[in-house]
Amino acid sequence: MTAKLAITVVIVVLCAGAAAAQAPAPAPAPAAPTGQKTLAATLNVYVFPTTGQTPAQQSTDEATCYNWAVQNTGTDPFNLQKQAQQQAQQTQQAQEQAKQAGQGAGMQGAVRGAAAGALIGEIANDDPGKGAAYGAAAGAIAGRRRGQQAQQQATQQATQQGQQAQQATAEQMTNFKKAFSVCLEANKYMVKY
């Protein structure tokens, strides 16, 4: 008797399922926000379940697509964020080092000037530092100028390297989002980023 009842229930459920599959599907309601950020949301990718996938299912799909995108692009956004932070620190350090090197050059110039100040040999040397004292002072000025130029070049170089690194990171991130989106779209999600 119990077995008959169970078989009847199964048949009814399957029939209902078949009927539902044949009928036009109503627009599914999006999963209610749970308050927790999804994987996609942390990457600023907006994902909408077009076939009424549950939040749990969406979370699973996002994780699967994340791994798929990592494998296909060779980029892991969470590692990228760490790399970007490290690059920013390195750029800052390089700029500080350049600044210190510039100051050091001024000191070295002063020492050189003090040791080897030429009296006649410095006349009309087209030095723009008009009226400046020479010997130690001239050495310091020339050293500072060389130091400032070196500092500017080094700072510029560090900034350029930082910008190039940021650009490369941004490109990698874009590629990852493309792959992530393609995977989610294949799983019936609408994706925008």
């Binding site: 030429a118 006649i120 008009k130």
Partner: protein, 145 residues
């Protein structure tokens, strides 16, 4: 402006203490020279009159004929010196010549008046400087003698 005034005042006091603006250098082997005017000429023919220190000519130069050396004053803190390679004292003129950093120079100083004329020549340009010199006081003898 204030610095320039002090420098001018100090110069005036120093030179008036010596007696006259330019001085009698006969018998002196150490003197202090100051540059008053400088002219820079380029090989194209253009010449520019400028203040000496704008052409890196020190404001005061100590000439030591015994040591055969031109040097900036200690008080200037500039610490610059140039050796004199040729020295002639003849016909009432003191002629100093030398070469440094690609610059050949000649100082001609009148022993009677202390008037100074300097020519510095290097590739593509020459600088002429006019000034005046006054004897430096002889070093004080050691105490107890």
């Amino acid at each position: 402006m204030r610095r320039a005034t002090w420098i001018a005042l100090a110069l005036a006091v120093a030179l008036s203490a010596a007696g006259v603006w330019a001085d009698d250098l006969r018998g002196a082997n150490q003197f202090l020279c100051t540059a008053v005017q400088a002219t820079k000429c380029l090989e194209g023919g253009d010449c520019f009159v400028d203040l000496p220190w704008n052409l890196n000519v020190p404001q005061f130069i100590e000439v030591n004929l015994d040591a055969k050396q031109l040097a900036t004053t200690k008080a200037s803190g500039e610490n610059r010196a140039t050796p004199i390679t040729h020295l002639t004292r003849e016909g009432g003129l003191i002629v100093l010549q030398g070469f440094e950093n690609g610059r050949a120079f000649s100082f001609v100083i009148s022993e009677a008046t202390g008037r100074l004329a300097v020519a510095v020549a290097t590739e593509g340009k020459a600088v002429a400087v006019f000034g005046a010199c006054t004897p430096l006081p002889a070093a004080a003898p050691p105490a107890g003698k």
